[in-house]
Amino acid sequence: MSVIKIENLVRDYGGGKGVFDISFHVNQGEAFGFLGPNGAGKTTTIRHLMGFLKPKSGKCTIDGLDCWSERDKVQARLGYIPGEISFFDDMTGTEFLRFIAEYRKIDTRNRMEELLERFELDPKSKIKKMSKGMKQKLGIVAAFMHDPDILILDEPTSGLDPLMQSRFVNLVAEEKENGKTILMSSHMFEEVERTCDRIGIIRNGRMVAIDSAAALHERHTRSYTVTLESEAAAKAFAADFGGICNGKKVTVATKQSLEEIFMNYYGGEKND
């Protein structure tokens, strides 16, 4: 069953910017990776899901609820990490987390402590004086502390150091195991590869590919059959390059990394 559903979403900012006819869905308990270069339209799409923007045409629903007209009901089940973190500068991290809990009318004490510990964040300083990574961690804690069953994460690891990135990837994997539905935008191939079941690639506001992570690999496998002068040479060649030997013929396959696939989509050259 699809929890997050985007149908023919259009938002034209003019000058070829915006998102055009985006459609995809995320199933219950699935992690969906939303990949795309800068300015591709990831954040714009996510803002529609959050009910910040009204679709010019098309529709976004979460669990059957319209993301624009029923946004407050949708929000009750959502955890969100914004792409551009900007919290109340005048508060300390602790005050901010307490405020959010009170504002959402939820009790988050245990989970909050656990998350703060996991990300080694000391929230006592003023948000204004926090480093980018600290603010990002604060955003993560605020998004996960009320234990939402749907997570919308816009470039959640930006600003985190590699250790914290991998801790975050682990957190997402755990959440997925607990049956949470996750939509995660990213430029980071590794984290998407490690956590997501399916991947959508967006470029210039259009979806260029949606498939399972495994199928994307598959699709971009190229194979070559070469004929060598002797069977012995063919055997040696097959052994060296990991090919399949058939008489004098050897078939070798190259598998592009997800990164290469990604580069293909936004580098302009498609080699299908």
Binding site: R47, F52, P82, F87, F88, F99, I100, E102, Y103, A142
Partner: protein, 266 residues
């Protein structure tokens, strides 16, 4: 309809401004009321004689009949208009537009709280601030008047007068709030939220000078607050105050509806 967590946070954010403006108002009101003295009045009246335009432009006219008339002349033309107005402009802009512009509105919008609840709460913060400021001014006026001139002041008239003043400032607050709801850019929110009231006030000053410029009074809402009319018990003055109040209600409602419907680029 109102989110207490947000209300508390924003009221805390208003305190500093309230204290500053409260202090300024205390200072001016006590000085001016203590100046009320037939002898002093002659001096002020002589100022008015020497430079009638300048004094009139800030609402000071000669021959105030009694203490309240004196207060109207010297407090309700400038001090009690400008400082609450500044409060409206500063807070009005900060309550919505600044959060949208800076992006921190995300924290408020990404929660199961209706947008109209957010806007209504922010409106209540602004209105509470105005209410506190006018209430405080009334108390200061009462204390100063009663301590200096126990017999001079008609309390009921003062209350009615300040009721009118409250309507005026609610209206100004409405303009600031509406502009804050419409614009996602602080630049424009301030330009309209501060620009309109300030321009209207300048028109009012012009109109006070008299002569041809008096026509300016038809183009400024400040004309709807007529302290002289209110203390003279003119029903038209009371009615205009109600017009201001009704206008304020409409401005706030419009602001909330617009905020509810608009795209947030956050």
């Amino acid at each position: 309809m109102i989110n207490m967590a947000l209300y508390k946070r924003e009221m805390k954010g208003s305190i500093k401004l309230l204290i500053i403006f409260g202090a300024i108002i205390t200072m001016y009101v006590s000085i001016i009321i203590n100046m009320y003295d037939p002898q002093m009045m002659k001096t002020l009246d002589s100022f008015v004689e020497v430079m009638p335009e300048l004094m009139a432009s800030v609402g000071m006219k000669a021959n105030a009949a009694n203490l309240l008339g004196f207060m109207v002349s010297y407090l309700y033309g400038f001090i009690l208009l400008i400082f609450p107005m500044l409060f409206c402009i500063l807070r009005g802009n900060a309550l919505i537009a600044k959060y949208v512009d800076k992006g921190s509105m995300v924290s408020l919008a990404a929660a199961p709280v209706k947008r109209c609840t957010i806007a209504f709460t922010q409106m209540k913060v602004l209105v509470s601030g105005i209410l506190l400021l006018i209430l405080y001014s009334t108390i200061v006026e009462l204390i100063c008047a009663k301590s200096g001139f126990p017999e001079e002041l008609d309390i009921k008239e003062l209350f009615i007068l300040n009721g009118g003043l409250l309507c005026l400032h609610l209206f100004i607050g409405g303009i600031c709030f509406l502009s804050s709801c419409i614009f996602s850019d602080t630049k424009y929110s301030v330009a309209f939220g501060a620009g309109i009231p300030a321009f209207m006030y300048v028109l009012q000053m012009l109109a006070n000078v008299g002569g041809d410029a008096e026509k300016a009074k038809y183009f400024t809402f400040f004309t709807l607050f007529s302290p002289d009319g209110i203390i003279a018990g003119k029903s038209s003055a009371i009615a205009s105050a109600f017009v201001l109040f009704a206008g304020a209600v409409m401005l706030y409602a419009l602001g909330i509806v617009i905020f509810e419907k608009k795209d947030l680029p956050i």
